[in-house]
């Protein structure tokens, strides 16, 4: 194979590689919406704007900050560690954190997150902290969620989550 043919091959592989990565990103992001279990949780919004990605509301959850007592055994030592947070359905129908661990639970509903602050109260991100919307819709949502809201999550059996919808407490 001549070096030019090899070069063209590398370029073609890179172009196709980019296509595969983009499709892979879409499939991975959409998977919880396709196969996940519906899990409603309480959320509180804040409203920044991403220069790169448009208008969005940043969503906070009670389980975004975990106290040390929620961990059964070992606690996170460094940012970036994977944490599993077990959710239990409360009397109001909304799910809340009941336990946390560094090992994956065998059953039940749980979220897979990463530690961003490695001391109590631990700060965890799950990939469900942003809700993108057009500017007008984002402003309306902000008003709607003024007293808190409910995020309808979809969670897969391995703890990956995606937001299906966000609504105010009084709306259905």
């Amino acid at each position: 194979m001549t070096s030019r043919k090899l070069l063209v091959g590398i370029l073609l592989a890179t172009i196709l590689g980019q296509g595969v990565i983009l499709i892979g990103m879409v499939v991975k992001a959409a998977m919880p919406l396709w196969v996940g279990q519906s899990v409603p949780v309480e959320t509180v919004p804040v409203d920044p704007r991403s220069l790169l990605r448009g208008n969005y509301a940043r969503l906070n959850y009670a389980f975004s900050r975990l106290p040390k007592k929620l961990f059964d055994g070992a606690t996170p030592k460094r940012p970036g560690e994977v944490v599993y947070v077990v959710l239990q359905r409360g009397d109001n129908g909304l799910y809340e954190a009941s336990a946390a661990s560094l090992t994956r639970p065998d059953s039940g509903v749980f979220l897979r997150g990463r530690v961003t602050r490695a001391y109590s109260p631990y700060r965890i991100r799950y990939g469900i902290e942003a809700w993108f919307a057009p500017k007008v819709a984002a402003l309306a949502l902000e008003k709607d969620l003024a007293d808190g809201g409910i995020a309808e999550l979809r969670v897969t059996s391995d703890g990956q989550a995606a937001i299906e919808s966000v609504r105010g407490r009084g709306t259905r």
């Binding site: 070069l7 063209v8 590398i10 370029l11 073609l12 592989a13 890179t14 172009i15 590689g17 980019q18 296509g19 990565i21 983009l22 499709i23 990103m25 879409v26 992001a29 959409a30 919406l33 991403s50 220069l51 790169l52 990605r53 448009g54 208008n55 969005y56 940043r58 969503l59 030592k77 940012p79 970036g80 990463r114 961003t116 602050r117 490695a118 001391y119 991100r125 799950y126 990939g127 469900i128 902290e129 942003a130 809700w131 993108f132 919307a133 057009p134 500017k135 819709a137 995606a162 937001i163």
Partner: protein, 434 residues
């Protein structure tokens, strides 16, 4: 080391005028240009402006698309939006490949550049459509990594620069959210590879040198981290100073290589190291910085010493091979002395002594630059020296040292340097005329 190496196009333009005036022949002009690694006939009819304008045009096309996405493109169905942007990315790249196969490299590079912008926009759109809030740096990393093979395969400095810039952006965003980006060396090694084998690109070269310095400092902060996170310590200042000396010495060594490209890089690295050192000295000419340094605990000094030894040893080794060994060794000894004094002295009232030393060093640097500017007939050094002394004077006028008497003494020293330089210049001119 001649700064004219960085102004080759101006040299070609001047030589065209000399040919017209009959001072030199075209063959002589070609021979001179070859000595600077320039094709005289090609440089007379530059195509760079065309490529640059096309590149900028494509940049704005890309920005328009990203802005459109940023404004939430809600009216179009999700699948159509994704299909459209992924399709546009692929088609742009394939069009670039078609131009490449037809030996239209400039157009191909511009299209690959645009395709990579679309690739980034596609990642952003996917994140937006699926409300991906987790770890946004991952998106930037995937973008940077996807761009990298184009720069490497085509040995294109500009595409590599795009990749390195995205890699740096990812590096800083990762640090911001508390993570240490382990994969950063991939971008640095790739940049070094392209610099080794591609055509000259001072922008990529200087960006790479600066990025390696930043990466080294941050990596040491990570190495010295504790339960509360990364530690940026006073020792980082020492490491930074040693790294700049290494760059300066490496630049001097490079500037003596036989390869035209190495000599260009050497001149640029030496010059920018010098500028960086002067700016650092201006910052260190204030007392409060030395007070903080003296009061610092230096908890990581034992960890920093092996790195300092390695950086200084590298600087001396390059200095030795380029015939500047004694000068580099003297600078190493002076820097080590200042570092030792800053660590050993614990009374912060002595900070003023360091401040005076930094100011005198600035004045001395200005004097040396003026002397070099005159002796080597390089106006840039001459005016850099004048500028250094004047700016030092301005800083000390608004921020006095030890009251009016101290500042008056310093101003007298500056006056002595300037008048001395003027007399030396007159003497030099007279001698040259004779």
């Amino acid at each position: 080391m001649r700064l004219i190496r960085l102004l080759k196009k101006d040299l070609v333009r001047e030589m065209s005028d000399w040919i017209e005036a009959g001072h030199i022949t075209t063959d002589q002009a070609r021979a001179i240009a070859t000595g600077y690694g320039v094709d005289f006939d090609a440089a007379k009819h530059p195509t760079g402006a065309y490529g640059l304008l096309v590149g900028l045009g494509y940049l704005f096309v890309g920005l328009a698309l990203i802005t459109l996405i940023g404004a939430n493109w809600e009216e179009i169905p999700r699948e159509l939006r994704l299909g459209a942007i992924v399709g546009v990315t692929m088609l742009t790249h394939l069009n670039g490949l078609r131009h490449f196969l037809n030996d239209r490299r400039t157009t191909a590079l511009a299209l690959f550049f645009l395709g990579n912008l679309f690739y980034g926009a596609s990642i952003a759109l996917t994140a937006q459509i699926y409300h991906l809030g987790e770890h946004m740096p991952d998106g930037i990393f995937i973008w940077a990594l996807g761009t990298l093979p184009f720069g490497l395969a085509l040995r294109s400095p500009w595409l590599t620069l795009v990749s390195l810039s995205l890699g740096l952006l990812w590096f800083f965003v990762e640090l911001e959210v508390g993570f240490y980006p382990l994969a950063m060396p991939i971008f640095l090694v790739a940049a070094v590879y392209v610099l080794r084998y591609a055509s000259t690109s001072l922008t990529l070269f200087l960006s790479t040198a600066a990025s390696i310095g930043v990466w080294l400092e941050v990596s040491l902060a990570e190495l010295w981290s504790d339960d509360y996170g990364r530690n940026f310590e006073p020792e980082h200042l020492f490491i930074g100073a040693a790294y700049v000396l290494l760059c300066k010495s490496f630049g001097q060594w490079l500037s003596q290589r036989s390869s035209v490209r190495s000599r260009d890089y050497g001149v640029a690295l030496s010059l920018w190291s010098l500028r960086f050192a002067l700016v650092s000295l201006f910052i260190l000419s204030f007392e409060f910085l030395w007070e903080e340094l003296i009061e610092a605990d230096f908890d990581y000094l034992a960890h920093a010493i092996p790195w300092l030894i390695a950086l200084f040893a590298g600087a001396i080794a390059f200095g030795w091979r380029s015939g500047h060994g004694i000068s580099v060794a003297a600078q190493t000894i002076a820097m080590t002395g200042v570092m030792t004094a800053a660590v050993a002295i614990t009374d912060s009232s002595h900070a003023v002594l360091f401040q005076v030393a930094a100011n005198l060093l600035l004045v001395a640097s200005g004097a040396v630059l003026i002397w070099r500017g005159i002796e080597q007939a390089v106006t840039h050094y001459f005016y850099l020296g004048i500028g250094t002394i004047l700016f030092t004077g301005f800083l000390r006028y608004v921020d006095l040292i030890g009251g009016y008497v101290g500042s008056a003494v310093l101003f007298l020293a500056m006056a002595g340097v300037l008048i001395g330089a003027a007399r030396f210049w007159r003497y030099w001119n007279t001698r040259t005329a004779q």
